[in-house]
Symmetry: C2
Subunit: 308 residues, 2 copies
């Protein structure tokens, strides 16, 4: 499991004078040349895991690969600066495939004023791998981290959750502008983007912050796709299950002091709704509550890369 590797690495990576924030967050934060902090993030996407090249348009795949990385910058409230791309291409139709991938990335790069600075192109007798690294810079408010949530903070989220597999996992808008606006205008304590699942990513944020989180189950904004998926698939998973565990929503989870959360909810300063879905508490772990009912444990659901 990735978390086991991170724990192992944390013991072995020596502290470094330039490294303000190392492994375990959505991106690393660096003190380069004593100026605005640099943020560095990498994400690799692979065929049969993150997309199916046999049916998905390479342009959508390329767009997703870039958008996923932009979402990591959003989670840090960092502005995109530049990116480099490593492609590992199957030999057959490799050039056409590479062009399709870039055609999907270019409009998104332009939208976020991202300098695509080239990369590395390889071929092999295996499936496609797209690895993108982005360099970003944080604003004067500094980076938004996973660590920093405090007991009593509210859990705010952007938009809605679940069912991204029906198309949104390709076409989502990374919440760059939203994160920058919220981070600069309001006082946020911590943040993360939902890549692996609302409940598992919330549990990660809470753990990094050294506290627990209670989800107010009836408040969770469930997407139309989650309802559709629940109806169409006879696997017994409710719309709520999809919202809690599907992942790839790439929405923001934020830890916000209670009074500040009230202001945000009253202002609703984004084009997408912001919803209060619960609170952080001192007791560790992930919990759920319905209406005024009792607090019960909630097993985090979502995607984890499994390896032995």
């Amino acid at each position: 499991m990735e978390s086991a590797l991170i724990a192992w690495l944390r013991e072995r990576l020596p502290p470094h004078p330039l490294l303000r924030l190392g492994i375990g967050d959505d991106a690393a934060v660096l003190d380069v040349a004593g100026v605005d902090l640099c943020v560095l993030t990498v994400d690799a996407l692979t065929d049969h895991v993150d997309f199916e090249l046999s049916k998905d348009d390479p342009r959508r795949v390329g767009r997703k690969a870039l958008a996923v990385n932009l979402s990591d910058l959003a989670a840090m409230a960092a502005r995109p600066v530049a990116g480099v791309i490593a492609l590992v291409l199957p030999k057959q139709n490799g050039l056409e495939l590479a062009q399709g991938l870039y055609e999907g990335m270019l409009p998104l790069a332009e939208q976020y004023h991202l300098a695509l600075a080239g990369g590395d192109t390889n071929s092999w007798d295996g499936p496609l791998v797209v690895s993108i690294t982005l360099l970003g810079e944080v604003t004067q408010r500094g980076p938004l981290r996973r660590k920093g949530a405090k007991p009593g903070d509210r859990i705010l989220v952007t938009d809605s959750f679940g069912g991204s597999i029906l198309g949104r996992h390709f076409d989502f808008q990374p919440r760059i502008e939203e994160a920058l606006l919220l981070h600069n205008r309001y006082k946020l304590h911590a943040g993360i983007d939902v890549s692996d699942g609302l409940s598992i990513d919330l549990a990660r944020l809470a753990k990094e912050s050294g506290c627990g989180a209670v989800l107010q189950i009836d408040s969770i904004p469930i997407s139309d796709e989650a309802r559709r998926l629940s109806k169409e698939c006879a696997d017994g998973r409710s719309p709520l299950d999809h919202a809690l565990g599907d992942g790839e929503d790439f929405e923001l989870i934020l830890a916000v002091p209670a009074d500040e959360a009230k202001r945000i909810l009253a202002d609703q300063p984004l084009d997408v709704p912001i919803t209060d879905i619960g609170e952080f508490i001192a007791e560790p772990g992930l919990w759920q509550r319905e209406a005024e009912g009792p607090r019960r444990p909630l097993v985090p659901q979502g995607w984890e890369h499994e390896f032995e």
Copy 2:
């Protein structure tokens, strides 16, 4: 072919105010926050192409993956600052494999004061991919580019060439210190590191500089491994063939004004020998000459990722 993709991309990537140097060199150069220039480079290594996990120790594989990227920074005369790593691991023994890879990287990262800033870890039903991105910074002399060689410049190289497959492709020392010393003490016009082959990488530097290059064949420093490989393999390739085309030497090729080259050769300021192996000329193309003989065309040999 990678060069076809680069040509296609160059037409499509819009200019960007931060991008001093985009695709087609060993690394991209960025003007971040108006201070020392940032250099960003990425290289992905794959099983069965760059190593054979069935017989190669993961620690050597990890070390190579990092060293190859450090060599790209050396080619730009940039100081290593930070790195992020994306791993795509086969599911079986993935954790142990990842630990082995990192164990190979950590000493090298420490040697070059590189901040390893974490990364992304994935698993799949495919072979290992290691993609590393490094952030570097150039010195006050600016970046050393592929473009800049002038007719009359001498071709200088560090150490010797050929036969790296016998072990040096894992254990080479990236020429970071050497590149920084030479770039800061002498006037260099252009530079590249030899990843794909002495002749093919020299041809690339000449092409980017808009000139040609003549190799003085009898001056090329041929490694002991190239001689051994030529003797052991009955494929008819001479030690010189190995030196010209094997690649993965990760030595430097430099374009240096003639009088400055004389100084460098007299000083020999490095722990490894520096050799004059020919000159740049106005006429495009790659050429060879033996002793005082006539100039004849030389077909560049080396590794190119082939895809259709």
